[in-house]
């Protein structure tokens, strides 16, 4: 991780990448804008990217590689990563899919904070831009982390209505009032990106804690008026179990990093109050 490890991959004289056409078009449009800049004196952005590959002796211990990416207006961190992979190092590994903050697969630790690479403008960051895999999750390769435990926690709250609860007739509608929709609207925005989970100090220290994303998922169903009473009781058993809401210490880390701006802490607090009410009723 010292400066000695830095590999500067500046030469782009190699074989044309799969996006050569696209790049050619981009360059043409740059010229169209009247910029006389050639590749040589174009502004570049230094990306400092975390590298790790257990299958390669050379990379079996983690290090940072430097990439100098030509700057373009409107460029996101994901654009930079794609450029680095396509033009400099095809072995650079990271997850991405929709490029528009919907799929939740490119949550990364960018300049010391959990962000979606596709939603983060390069111009909003100080340079060099440091890109690392999500903290508190095990790294599989480069920027790819093991998500299995996160998914287990998400499924632990059983994020679905009662599957046995059939409609009375085939034409029965299950209606939700606009007010109730407003109430749960924010919680439905979760894209399972694990940014919040990665930012949570308690989830980091103890794998048993459900974590903010799973609790928000439970909130989405518990607060939905269409959920049946029995199902709701079962869900509260999970919510107010030892590994549930009580572990939250209101550090607000999750709320701060959520790329979909879900008020996670608020939802967890609401569930705590509801759980206390239920416990007091029981006594």
């Amino acid at each position: 991780m010292s400066a000695d490890d830095e590999t500067t991959t500046d030469d782009d004289t190699g074989v044309p990448g799969p996006h050569a056409d696209r790049l050619a078009r981009k360059e043409a449009s740059n010229e169209g804008r009247g910029s006389a800049a050639s590749d040589a004196d174009r502004e570049t952005v230094r990306f400092r990217i975390y590298r790790y590959n257990p299958d390669d002796e050379d990379r079996a211990s983690p290090r940072y590689d430097d990439f100098h990416i030509p700057f373009e207006r409107g460029m996101t961190v994901l654009d930079g990563l794609i450029y680095a992979r396509d033009e400099f190092d095809p072995s650079l590994t990271f997850r991405h899919s929709c490029r528009q903050a919907i799929c939740g697969s490119d949550a990364l630790f960018i300049n010391g904070r959990q962000r979606l690479a596709c939603k983060t403008q390069v111009t909003d960051l100080s340079r060099p831009i440091q890109v690392e895999p999500l903290p508190h999750l095990d790294v599989k390769k480069d920027l790819v982390v093991e998500m299995e435990h996160f998914y287990e926690q998400m499924h632990a709250v059983e994020p679905y209505f009662n599957p046995d609860d059939e409609p009375v007739t085939a034409t029965t509608e299950r209606r939700q009032s606009p007010a109730n929709h407003e109430h749960i609207k924010m919680s439905t925005r979760c894209i399972w990106c694990a940014s919040c989970h990665s930012s949570c100090n308690i989830a980091a220290g103890d794998d048993d804690y459900l974590g903010p994303a799973a609790i928000n998922m439970a909130y989405r169903f518990a607060m939905d008026e269409r959920e049946g009473d029995r199902r709701e009781d079962e869900r509260y058993e999970i919510i107010k179990s030892e590994q549930g809401v009580w572990r939250c210490q209101t550090q607000f880390s999750c709320t701060e990093v959520c790329p979909k701006e879900i008020p996670l802490t608020e939802h967890i607090q609401e569930l705590k109050r509801e759980s206390v009410k239920r416990n007091l009723k029981f006594w």
Partner: protein, 110 residues
Amino acid sequence: MWFLQRVTAVFLIGVLAFHFFQLHFVEHAADIEFAGTQARMQQPFYFATMVLFLVAATFHGVNGVYNALINQGLDGRARTVVKWVLVLASLGLIVQGIRVAMAMAGVHIG
């Protein structure tokens, strides 16, 4: 437990502030003599408040410590052991505190 922690918190906010104010700003700690302490502790309301203060503070503090340890990943056998050590320490502190309080108030049993 979570709820009790909040209830004791509300109580402690008031009493701890009062305790500090009373014994450092109204009466100066350096001027404390046993006679003054006894005079205060012989008022039944003050005595009751102080005993309750002791119990609430012990619960709130020890429960806080226990939760902090759980959040560090304490579990299994170690957790059971720590739990009972903390419970015994708390009971010991409360018993000793009440003995002291009675001595201050001049009440002697046995």
